[in-house]
Symmetry: C2
Subunit: 207 residues, 2 copies
Amino acid sequence: MGARLGGVTRTYHHGNLRDALLARAEEQLATDGVDGISLRSLARDLGVSHAAPARHFRDKQALLDALALVGFRRLDDGLARAVTEAGGAFDDRLRGLGRAYARFAIAHPRLLEVMYAGKHHPEASAELLAVARRGLGLVADAVDTGQRAGAVRDGDPDHLALLLFAAVHGVAQLATGDLLDGEPAADLLDDLLETCLRGLAAPTPAG
Amino acid sequence: MGARLGGVTRTYHHGNLRDALLARAEEQLATDGVDGISLRSLARDLGVSHAAPARHFRDKQALLDALALVGFRRLDDGLARAVTEAGGAFDDRLRGLGRAYARFAIAHPRLLEVMYAGKHHPEASAELLAVARRGLGLVADAVDTGQRAGAVRDGDPDHLALLLFAAVHGVAQLATGDLLDGEPAADLLDDLLETCLRGLAAPTPAG
DNA sequence: TACCCATGTTGTCAACGACAACATGGGCGC
DNA sequence: GCGCCCATGTTGTCGTTGACAACATGGGTA
């Protein structure tokens, strides 16, 4: 088969309906929010019958779960890139990670919402958690580097990473909810990051 | 009228349907999540017709907005209580505020979700923002106190308050989303709070 | 006393998620 | 090279829901 529609080779009827659904769902999500997504409207948009999506996602929730997974993967990519671009200094890496997270949140607020929605199916939850943890690992690595250099106070790197992550996540949440009183998210984030870095600094040897 | 049902005086048919709807909606929210709330099921539970709720909430969203308002008011009460119980020291006040916030978040995770959902009607948004800002004011007051005592670094108290709020909010979000790896939320919160307080400390006069 | 409006009711509609029964055609085993 | 099977897609249907319109009622007030 494979009809040409709009320059893109479509191989529906035995092809890539699943990906097409995800792509269209993400568009819909960005413009109309989670409630704007309906399996039936997705099917209509893609020219398939209303029951076709069920072959790929047993549930509406299953589709949202898949969307969340896409989001986490993309987020992870962004974080990984931030690390490589940040050079070796642990604090620059942490700053880069924080900014990358905020950038993602502001660029894809609705997607972030789906990613952190507590409604995922149990199986999906496990997978999502695993991917989320990968991002956290990048933070922990940077913290560990800081500790080895004697610049960061002692403590379980994972714990400290979670702490930093929570702070950045909080800013991102407020930013996407437009609860910042017009304060630029970047400013608040930088300030919070510096504050935390200062708070996490190893005690300077007395004298 | 006023029929006695279950020991509570009900004056439906000219009485308190609105409050009853809110109360029942909050129960439903706690047990089944936002999607578990349907205007029709609420009406059924309260023994009124399916269209009765529309007299009090033009929309399903309007009901959720009202629920959010209830939540913010209750949160504000908790925060205010925390301040009075914390004594005069600014840092104790901040700790008390942070813990009160986390306590609320963990006790009412779904409600918090509704409170921060970005879908509110515009009129409701304004009111919600006003109430939310009131809580933030308590934080700013404590920061201001710390600054006057020379213990907190310079800077707009509202800005610093927002910074602290974001951090605490982040922890609360992760906690309600069960994303803490089993780490007790209280521990993480305390740790983050201490870190931020340390980071916000005024530079000690050289020497 | 009579009217009006707040509140509640019945009826209806379109959209949706979910499910069941059925169709089809491509790839794989033989 | 042929035919069968299953992945994928279709049609049909059901119950639920939110929203709206037209109608009922009764309490407070002019």
